[in-house]
Assembly symmetry: C2
Homo-oligomer: 182 residues x 2
């Protein structure tokens, strides 16, 4: 059974809207897409304190789902893939319980046995990794898919998937090429 | 740089004394080694409720160190190994913060980046794994070392290390054989 490691933030959990709201609360205005495309929101002038929010209890507790993520995971499970949620949670001690509860709430179809809270994803030995960070894909030994987020728009090094429909289309293609190679 | 995954419970964190005390509180007597050798304490008559304690906040917060673990980890770091603490914490949602704080307290020389809280260790791609459970070593692709605990005394499938001195002796031998093969 092929194994897919799926990152949480910006792949199944939508961090950006919460950051945009925080930015607005601090600066009295929302930044435009032109301002934040290609970078992290906390790299913008006025965004310096945004990253601190990640260390607070509750930040990760009420994130919205990335559109199509639930259906996408279910579809991959139906196709016989084993799904592991692999998140670099360890920088944020106070995120651990929030992330755990969030996964149980939105992905009851993935067992706790397949939750991985780590720091350095280079020790993960799955067949695929879907992640929004090129640095995670760069040290990954399997096939990496870059899930589009505003901060990674200029990356060209990896197979890009812009949304969950494109994730499923990629794995549909994998199925066809495996069948052809049999 | 070679990577060693190190399990927490029964390898660096001493769970047994706490379980023995709990058993005594429940049953009014301590079980003998003859009773619990070769099995888990919660498999004994009178031990049925012990395992519930693992789900409580605080259980993993004040565990003692396995003798020699701190010095052993430091010695492996000095020898240039990269250490990852890999613990099957995900069954126990309430253990996550306790385990995190415990590691920071006793192993400040290992960065949070190298903490891995998982369920199924078969996705871990390190060179070595030191663990007290044969089932974790069985699915591991690198070299596994079985760290002796009462419950695993009858296992004969893996290289056994009885204590941290034997862990260090094993890696000393690895160094010599690598030098000889160069």
């Amino acid at each position: 059974m092929k194994r897919i490691a799926v990152d949480m933030d910006e792949v199944v959990a939508d961090v950006l809207p919460k950051f945009l709201t925080l930015f607005e609360q601090i600066n009295g205005r929302r930044p435009s897409e032109e301002e934040y495309n290609g970078k992290k929101l906390y790299a913008l002038p006025g965004g310096e304190h945004l990253r601190e929010a990640l260390f607070h209890k509750g930040f990760f507790a009420d994130l919205d789902l990335i559109p199509g993520a639930q259906e996408g995971i279910q579809s991959l499970l139906d196709d016989g893939y084993e799904i592991f949620f692999v998140t670099a949670a360890q920088e944020f001690r106070n995120s651990l319980e929030d992330k755990y509860d969030w996964l149980l709430q939105f992905f009851p179809n993935v067992p706790w046995r397949n939750f991985v809270f780590c720091g350095d994803k280079s020790i993960i030995g799955t067949d695929y990794l879907i992640d929004d960070h090129a640095f995670n894909l760069r040290t990954f030994s399997g096939k990496g898919l870059l899930f589009t987020a505003p901060h990674n728009l200029s990356e060209t090094e990896f197979t890009r998937v812009n949304n969950w429909s494109e994730v499923l289309a990629f794995f549909e293609q994998e199925k066809l090429s495996h069948a052809a190679n049999r």
